[in-house]
């Protein structure tokens, strides 16, 4: 029987190790952290609870539930796969994940149950192809902003209160804290956080994108920058925003409980999309906002028919 290597033992090398090699054996995860601190003194923070490696990746892959993913992925507690850090670093290839998902679907559920998940793998491939084509131009606006504001009116740097989870907004501070502590965020939380940075604080998307790349275990300029551009509206037809009702729905309301801003009536997200549009964008030129983050246009409620939904 083949047993997995000890958690931090390292597989043996079939050639002699050299003086210049970094160690491949650690007594514990703490020992790895100590070694990394010594070798990379400028790198901030501690370890993530999320472990690297093929074994961890295979465990996650075996736990993927395509149908539940399709139904619940927009919710913070939904059945998301958390495969992104492993896919980003090629621990799992997109082709491998696709094949395992197909096997799962053949065993039960069928094609329809997996269409959303395969579509999301497609997004990853799409971003990678764009990066390959754009190169470092992935840091430039792909199109003019549709917010009605000039690019010069956006701040170049991320406000310190955001980076240190000190805005006083429970949702935003929770997302910032999770990003810095764990290096992973649910995609919906990424979109909310990005919209807050770009539209409410009027900060250039590049500042937010750089901050995410410092921390995200799955960070690469492809998915990251182009998603920031999608929120900002330099890679979409309209800016993305959200409101409190949307956040409460997909977070189960838990973030708003105990939020001082929510209690005191100063929550900046507690408004209709029409009001946010007026407040955040120069209305003469701006397109209507986008409030669905997965590419589908939001169905607008006609006031006349709202009584008969």
């Amino acid at each position: 029987m083949v047993s997995p290597p000890p958690a931090l033992g390292g597989v043996p090398l079939p050639w002699a190790e050299a003086d210049g090699d970094l160690p491949r054996r650690f007594s514990s995860r703490d020992a790895l952290e100590t070694e990394l601190r010594r070798r990379f003194p400028e790198a901030s923070g501690g370890l993530s609870p999320i472990r690297g490696g093929r074994l961890a990746a295979e465990q996650r892959l075996a736990a993927v539930q395509p149908a539940r993913y399709g139904r619940s992925r927009n919710f913070l507690d939904g059945a998301v796969t958390r495969l992104s850090p492993y896919i980003r670093h090629g621990v799992l290839s997109l082709a491998e994940v696709r094949d395992v998902v197909f096997q799962t679907l053949r065993a039960g559920g069928g094609r329809e149950a997996g269409e959303k998940l395969i579509n999301e793998l497609g997004w990853r491939d799409f971003w990678q192809r764009l990066w390959r084509r754009l190169g470092d131009a992935i840091w430039d606006d792909q199109e003019p902003l549709k917010t009605g504001h000039s690019p010069a009116s956006y701040a170049a740097e991320l406000p310190a209160a955001i980076a240190t989870a000190g805005t006083g907004l429970a949702c935003i501070d929770a997302f910032a804290g999770e990003l810095v502590q764990t290096g992973w965020l649910h995609n919906h939380a990424r979109m909310w956080l990005a919209a807050y940075v770009v539209h409410w604080r009027r900060v250039r998307w590049q500042a937010g994108a750089r901050w995410f790349l410092q921390h995200l275990l799955d960070g690469d300029p492809a998915s990251n920058n182009l998603s920031w551009q999608w929120v900002a509206s330099s890679f979409s037809h309209k800016p993305y925003v959200f409101n409190r009702a949307n956040l409460e729905r997909y977070s189960g309301g838990r973030l708003c409980h105990g939020c001082d801003a929510a209690a005191s009536g100063s929550c900046p997200f507690d408004a209709s999309y029409e009001a946010l549009q007026q407040q955040l964008f120069a209305s003469a030129t701006a397109e209507p906002v986008r409030s669905s983050w997965n590419g589908r246009p939001r169905r607008r409620t006609n006031p006349a028919s709202a009584r008969h939904p």
């Binding site: 990379f40 690297g52 696709r98 997004w123």
Partner: protein, 144 residues
């Protein structure tokens, strides 16, 4: 190449790495790119995540200037070339060409998610995801 070494980079830290697949047992090296880590202020948890991935691969781990370290590793193993896998990050090409000034570099393509070329005739329309997916989706599902 009769006696190559393998250069493993951060886009291919798994068994699907085509260089590892084609040359099992050959000396392989990963280099933590110090300039990049400093420039982008990469946090420790990202480095640790990579490190844990590397411990499960047959690969020597180094830090410093990537091209210099790969070439030093190649000299230690009296290699006549370097084999690696294709990467999307534009920094890869800079490093590859720096290595190629001293030793031949062979770049292998990993298995694609969808059999569509990256450029030229038949490459998908990337202006919006919907256009790309209209071309890609039927091809992806072909193997279902």
């Amino acid at each position: 190449m009769h006696q190559p070494v393998l250069w493993i980079h951060g886009e291919a830290l798994g068994p699907a790495n085509p260089a590892l697949q084609a040359h099992p047992g050959r000396p392989a090296v990963f280099v933590f790119d110090e300039a990049l880590i400093r420039q982008q202020a990469i946090s420790l948890k990202r480095l640790a995540f990579l490190y844990e991935c590397l411990l499960e691969l047959p690969v020597a781990i180094r830090q410093g200037d990537v091209a210099e370290q790969v070439l030093a590793f190649a000299r230690e193993h009296r290699a006549d070339g370097v084999i690696t896998s294709a990467a999307v990050d534009p920094r890869f090409e800079t490093i590859r060409s720096a290595i190629a000034r001293d030793l031949p570099v062979e770049v292998q393509e990993p298995k694609p998610f969808v059999p569509l070329p990256f450029e030229g005739q038949g490459a998908p329309d990337l202006r919006r995801f919907s256009r790309y997916w209209r071309q890609a989706e039927p091809l992806v599902w072909q193997s279902y």
